[in-house]
Symmetry: C2
Subunit: 282 residues, 2 copies
């Protein structure tokens, strides 16, 4: 199978895609829209894109494109703790590091460590953590370092000299696997966190309590929500859609009846699937 | 007054801050956390940070820091349409442009224009649109171009040769003004879109229908929501808080009674303020 992912090579999304699809062909895309287009026109079977907290893409785009392409569904979700490592070329003299390269947000997320241990070393913004690692690998004669992930270290043959330099432990990124077909995605080597459903809900008009009415449908069935996010359709105007995650496996007709009830209330529902959530390694 | 903003110089956030605070001292910060710290420790009076759709910061961080710093409130919100312009040094021979620099997401957002008009020109990722503009200004002898905003063009004396090259018209970024004191922020020269309130709501436990109960409090009072977003507190665990916007001016006791009712339901509410929403120029 061909799997698109939000690039560049050695991005955090590739780190996720490589764990989700270890034996498939991975194809980097320059942005989230291109991942959706590749799935839409059939040039790939699936794509891996960030859903929450990525430093690589404006992830609200992911919700917007899910809304705009109703034939694209979610096959799986994956959570990855964010881990930044300090890496150098094997020839580097660590005591003489003169510059540290990374994406501005990765440098910011490692600020405390870098400020304590490399205060007088120049920190240089780069377009991505992966590109920073590549730049370090291409300049073995200078004493440069990059803040990037393990995948970048392996790809560019860099040596990790300090692991987990990020300031906060709880930071993580969520990814989804999108597809036009309903592949039954499962993975025997990854930790399964649970099942969930994804829904896109559009209210018939912007009236007070509209969302409350939607949630009533789930509440009396004791269907628990784990995520809810509203997205505006136009600047300054009162048109919204909502992305909702409902916890658990949908095995009885109770859950599917909820969708029917929403439809009778004139509420537009795009059911994105009932899928597994996996824990990835950082 | 001193106003912190998410930098670097000539970032989109500075473009917003300069319109909101034309006569104040603007101080760039390297990340969203530093904006919050500057407000918290009193080294600035207010800060401007992105709330939605920024290409410069992971804006979910803004919600997380609002949650972690309960004494920081919202003074105002501002919406800015995203506009990318193609700019060069005044000495540049436009027909001979050899490279176009910008943030990867700005290049992606201008893909259609660049592919149609500059297909054979190298597109080079840069850490920010502002840094790309600075690089072009520092290399007048080469024929370089940058995709950036009007503020960057003015700051670095670049000539805009093509305006509004972004692919989608409806893209916009939202910013908030944060402060520890309750300044009464108003601005006579900006278009006022309306009033809204911001609330952070934490449920006592992760039970089915908890959010539904919260929304009931607003629904029967005909208080309309314009934004709702859940944020996980820990990876994989069922602890959440919600950021909610309620539309309109809070002038009667009805609205404030809603907050009292939430508290009696053992629901933790951080009222971030009732503030104005402004429309900015791109």
């Amino acid at each position: 199978m061909k799997i698109a992912f939000l690039g560049p090579h050695a991005s955090f999304t590739q780190l996720a895609a490589a764990q989700l699809f270890p034996d498939e062909e991975l194809l980097p895309q320059v942005n989230i829209l291109d991942c959706f287009i590749a799935v839409e026109n059939g040039s790939v079977d699936m794509a891996v894109v960030p859903l929450e907290n990525s430093i690589e893409g404006t992830v609200s785009m992911t919700l917007d494109y899910l809304y705009k392409t109703p034939d694209i569904k979610i096959m799986a979700e994956a959570v990855m703790p964010i881990a930044h490592h300090l890496m150098v070329h094997p020839h580097c003299v660590v005591e003489k590091i003169e510059k540290i390269y990374s994406h501005p947000q990765a440098l910011a997320q490692s600020f405390h460590f870098l400020d304590t241990n490399y205060r007088n070393v120049i920190k240089q913004d780069y377009s991505s953590t992966a590109a920073a690692a590549k730049h370090v690998s291409e300049n073995p004669d200078r004493n440069l370092a990059a803040v990037a992930n393990t995948f970048a270290a392996n790809l560019y043959n860099l040596k990790i000299i300090e692991r987990n330099i990020q300031d906060f432990e709880q930071n993580h990124t969520r990814f989804i696997v999108i597809s036009k077909q309903s592949h039954d995605y499962s993975h025997k080597n990854l930790t399964l966190l649970g099942k969930k459903s994804g829904l896109l809900i559009t209210l018939p008009e912007d009236h007070a309590g509209g969302l409350h009415q939607v949630l009533s449908v789930f509440a009396w069935r004791k269907m628990n929500l784990s995520k809810i996010e509203s997205r505006t359709l136009k600047t300054g105007l009162g048109k919204y859609f909502f992305f909702i995650n409902v916890v658990g496996k949908w095995e009885s007709t109770v859950q599917y009846n909820a969708l029917e009830e929403l439809k009778t209330l004139q509420i537009k529902v795009d059911f994105l699937g009932n899928y597994s959530e996996f824990l990835l390694n950082s």
